[in-house]
Amino acid sequence: MKGAWSEEDRRHAAALAATYAAAAALALLAAALFILAFGGSIRVAFATVLQASLGTWGGFAQTLNKFCPLLLGSLAVAFGMRGGHFNIGVDGQIYAGAIGMAAVAFGLEGLNLPWPVFVPLGILGGVLAGAFWGLIPGVLRVRYRVSEIFVTVMLNFVALYLVDYLANGPWNDPLAGDAITVPIPKSAVLPQMLPKSGGHMGPLIALAAAAGIYFMMSRTIIGYEIRAVGDNPTAARFGGININRITLVIMPVCGALSGLAGAIEVSGFHQTLLLGLTGPTGAPNYGAMSILIAVIGRRHPLGVILAAAVFAILMVGSDSLQRSIGLPGSAVFVFQAIIVLTVLYVEARRQLST
C-alpha cells in the first residue's frame, strides 16, 4: 500500500497548513492593530492592499517587479541555509550584481551590440560580480575559519559605499542629481513582459532560477551533498564529503543568485545604477526580507516562491497604505517578522511535543 499520500503525510500536511494559518491570522491581527493606531479603517486598508497590488495591471506589474528581487534574494538565503551557511549579504551581492551589469552596459556601449547579445552579456556580468562577492566570504571561511555571517554583513556596507562612489563619481549623471548614474544604453534594457504597465521579464528569469535550484537540490549529487552538509557537517565529512568544496560552491551560487537580482534591477527596472537600490540600511531592504522569506518558505524553492509572492503583494500594498493613511513602509517588516516568529513558534511547539 504505497499510495502517493500516506496517513502520516496527510497529518504532516494538515499540521503545516494549520501552522501557516495561525501565523497569517496573527500577522493580520497585528496589522489591524497598526492600522487602527494610524487611524485607518481596517476594511478599507485591506481592500487597498489587494486593489493596489493585484487590482490593476499597473499594480500587478509592480508586484511582479518586486517579486523578482525578493524571490532571487530569498533563494540566495535559502540555498545557503540548506547547506548550513548563513548568507546575510544579499544586499551587498545585489549591489555587486548591479555594478557588474552597469559596468558591462557602460563599458561595451560603443560596440552597438543588439539587445539579444547585450542584455545576456550584462546579466552575466552581474551574475559573475555577485558570485565574486559571494566567493569572498566563502574563501575566508575555508581559509581562515571566519564565520560567513560577519563577512557577508560587512561586505554589504562595502558594496553600499562602492555604489555610492560610482553613482556620485565616475558614472554620475549631473542632470539627475546625487547618487545616480546616467541611464544604461537602450539595447542593454531587459525587454518588457507587460509593456503597457511596465512589467519586465525578470520574474520569469527568477522562476527559472528557482526551478534550477529545486532540480539541483533534489536530483543531483552535489545537491544531496549540500543538504548533507547542512544537516550534519561532521557526518557528511565522515561520509567522504569535502566541506570546503561545498562551501566554495554554496557561497558563490548564493552571490550569483543575488547578483542576478541586482543585474535585473538595473537592466529591467531602474535602467540606471543608483544608491537606494536595496538595503542594508534603507528601504527597500531586500536583504532583510530575503531572510524572512527563506525561513517562512522553509528553505525550499517552492515555499520560497509562495512566500516571496505574498511579500511582494504586501510591499506594493503597503506603499499605497503609506500614501492613503500614512502607515510607514517599515510596517511590512513588522508583519513579516511576526509571521516568521509565529511559524517558528508553532514549529518549535510541534518539535517539543514529539
Binding site: T220, D231, A235, A236, R237, F238, G239, G240, N242
Partner: protein
C-alpha cells in the same frame, strides 16, 4: 518488623519516552551502609531509574521515600536536598574550569564575591577522609578520565551526599583503576553512606556489592544478596529465555595470511596538538583476512588514530598504506575509494543526517559509487537499497522515508553498520575500522554485527575493531593491540589472551612487575 525503614525506597516507578516504555512499575530499595548494584543490559532501565532518583528525569508514576518519609524529587536541586548525589557515566565536568571550581560550583559559600581559596580547606578535608586526592588547581580538561571521575565523586560528597549513585563507573578505567575505585567505594559505604552503582559487568557485581537488583526490559527481575548470587543465576536473570545466535564464541585461527599486502599498514604515525602527543610513533598491520582489536581505556588516542587513518585529521608524521597503496595527502573520499570504511564512534554526531530520510542516510558515502554513471541523485535506487538494508538488518522503522532522527539509538547503529557493510562491498573490500560499533546494542544485535565482521574476515578483508570492552575483543579478535597515551604498548595473539597483562598495558604499565 521493627527494623528501620530503608534509606531509599522507590515504589511503582513508571517512565516512558514517547512511545518507548523505559520503566514499568519498578520497585527498588537500598539500605544504609550498603553497596547496591543495579545489573542489566543496555536499555534495561537502570540508568533511567537513577536519573529519576537524582532528579534529572521526572517519573510518570510512582513514589520515592527517603528514610521512610515521602521525598518528592522534581529537580536535581531537590535530590541534593535529600542528600542524593549522582556521578554520571560520562563525567559531567566543565572542562574549562579548575577542579576546585567544579567542586564548588553551586555551593560556593555565602557572599557576593567568589572566595574559592577559603573553601579549599573544606574540600581537602573531605578528600582526605575518603582518600580521593586530586589536583585542585588544574583545568579539568587536562586531567585523565580516572581523576575526573574522582572529582565527580568528591563533588557529590562535598555536597553532603550520603546516597551516592555511580553510573557505569568502570567503563573508562583500567583494571587497576577499577580496583582502586572499589576500594574507595567500600570505604565510603563503611562510613555509613549508601552507594548504588550501575553496571552490566557481572564480575564486578560479584566482587564488590552487598545486594544486586537485576533489570531487564524496563522491569525489575529481582533482588538477590551477594552470597546467594552466582554467575549463572545472574546471567539467567539478565538475559531471560533467549537463544544465542550460532557462531558466537571463540575466534578461529587467522583465516589466511597468504602473500599480498596487509589490508592496512600504519608506520610511525604521530599526531600532536600543541605540546600534547595524541599519537606517538604508532606502527601496526592489519593483515588481510584478520580481525585486529585495539584495546585501551577511552581517550588514549583511539579516536585520533581512526580519524587520522581515515584522513579526517592531518598528521605530523608517518605513513598509512591501504592494500599496499600509500594514502599520503589523500582526501577522505579518495581513501574510501582505496578500500577504507570507518564506523564512527559517536553515531548521532558523526553518523547520521538527522532530518534527512533514512534512505538518504543510507547512501551517505555510498553515493559516489551507486550514482556514478548518471551524475544525478536517483531517489529510487536509494530507497530500494535502504529497503533491503532495513529487512536484512531488522531495523525497526515505519518505512525508509522517515527522518533518521526518529529512530532509536540501537536502530541508528544498525543503519550505520548496514551502510558500512554496503560501502565495503561497493568498493571491493579492504579495511573496515569500527570504533565501538556495538555500544548500546543488545546482545542479539551485537552478535549480528560480530557475524558481519567475521564475514569480512572470511572474504579476505581486514577489520580493525576499537573497543573499550575487553570481553568483546577477546571473543572475536585474532590479535589484540593495546594503546595507551597514544602509543601502542603491545600486541597479543589469540585465541587465548592474558587479560590481566592486557589490563596492565591499558594502565600504562610497560614491564611486568617482578
Amino acid at each position: 518488623m521493627s527494623a528501620a525503614p530503608p534509606r531509599v525506597e522507590m515504589r511503582g516507578i513508571c517512565k516512558r519516552f514517547g512511545e518507548v516504555v523505559a520503566l514499568d512499575r519498578v520497585d527498588l530499595e537500598a539500605a544504609k551502609g550498603e553497596i547496591h548494584a543495579l545489573l542489566g543490559e543496555n536499555g534495561a532501565g537502570k540508568t533511567t531509574i537513577m536519573n529519576i532518583l537524582s532528579g534529572l528525569y521526572r517519573s510518570d508514576a510512582g513514589e520515592i521515600r527517603v528514610d521512610g518519609r515521602p521525598a518528592p524529587i522534581r529537580s536535581p536541586k531537590d535530590a541534593i536536598g535529600f542528600r542524593i548525589g549522582m556521578v554520571h557515566q560520562h563525567v559531567e565536568l566543565i572542562g574549562n574550569f579548575t577542579a576546585l571550581e567544579n567542586i564548588l560550583l553551586g555551593h560556593e559559600g555565602t557572599g557576593w564575591v567568589l572566595r574559592a581559596e577559603s573553601q579549599r580547606g573544606a574540600v581537602e578535608e573531605v578528600a582526605s577522609r575518603y582518600g580521593l586526592s586530586v589536583p585542585l588547581n588544574e583545568r579539568v580538561k587536562a586531567l585523565p578520565v580516572g581523576i575526573q571521575q574522582k572529582i565527580e565523586i568528591l563533588k557529590a560528597l562535598y555536597r553532603g551526599a550520603d546516597i551516592l549513585i555511580l553510573d557505569e563507573p568502570t567503563t573508562m578505567l583500567t583494571p587497576q583503576e577499577v580496583d582502586a575505585l572499589f576500594a574507595t567505594i567500600r570505604k565510603i559505604a563503611e562510613g555509613g553512606l549508601t552507594v548504588i552503582f550501575i553496571t552490566h559487568k557481572i564480575k564486578e557485581v560479584l566482587a564488590n556489592s552487598d545486594r544486586i537488583t537485576v533489570f531487564r526490559g524496563g522491569c525489575r527481575v529481582g533482588t538477590v544478596r551477594r552470597p546467594e548470587a552466582s554467575r549463572e543465576l545472574l546471567v539467567q536473570m539478565m538475559v531471560g529465555e533467549r537463544e544465542f545466535p550460532a557462531g558466537a564464541g571463540r575466534p578461529g585461527a587467522v583465516a589466511s595470511s597468504s602473500a599480498g599486502p596487509p589490508a592496512l599498514s600504519v608506520r610511525d604515525l604521530s599526531l600532536r596538538n600543541a605540546d600534547i602527543h595524541l599519537l606517538k610513533d604508532v606502527s601496526f598491520d592489519v593483515p588481510a583476512g584478520a580481525i585486529v582489536g585495539l584495546a585501551g581505556v577511552s581517550g588514549n588516542g583511539q579516536r585520533e588514530l581512526a580519524e587520522a587513518i581515515a584522513g579526517l585529521l592531518p598528521v605530523q608524521a608517518g605513513e598509512v598504506t591501504i592494500r599496499g597503496r600509500s594514502v599520503e595527502k589523500l582526501t577522505v573520499a579518495a581513501r574510501i575509494a582505496l578500500g577504507l570504511v570507518l564506523i564512527p564512534q559517536n553515531r548521532i554526531d558523526e553518523g547520521i543526517l538527522p532530518s534527512l530520510s533514512l534512505a538518504e542516510n543510507f547512501v551517505l558515502g555510498l553515493h559516489p559509487y551507486i550514482f556514478k554513471r548518471s551524475g544525478f541523485f536517483e531517489q529510487g535506487t536509494a530507497h530500494e537499497m535502504a529497503r533491503i538494508a532495513i529487512r536484512d538488518y531488522n531495523v525497526l522503522t515505519r518505512n525508509e522515508r522517515v527522518p533518521s532522527a526518529h529512530l532509536s539509538g540501537g536502530n541508528i547503529q544498525k543503519v550505520i553498520v548496514a551502510r558500512a557493510m554496503a560501502l565495503f562491498r561497493a568498493i571491493g573490500g579492504g579495511i573496515l575500522i569500527a570504533n565501538n560499533p556495538t555500544r548500546g546494542l543488545d546482545i542479539m544485535a551485537a552478535a549480528f554485527v560480530h557475524a558481519r565482521f567475521r564475514e569480512v574476515r572470511e572474504g579476505g578483508g581486514g577489520v580493525l575493531l576499537i573497543s573499550e570492552d575487553l570481553d568483546e575483543l577477546c571473543s572475536i579478535c585474532d590479535r589484540i593491540l593495546v594503546i595507551h597515551s597514544g602509543e601502542i604498548l603491545g600486541g597479543f595473539d589469540g585465541p587465548d589472551y592474558d587479560v590481566y597483562r592486557i589490563g596492565e598495558l591499558m594502565a600504562g604499565v610497560r614491564r611486568r612487575q617482578p
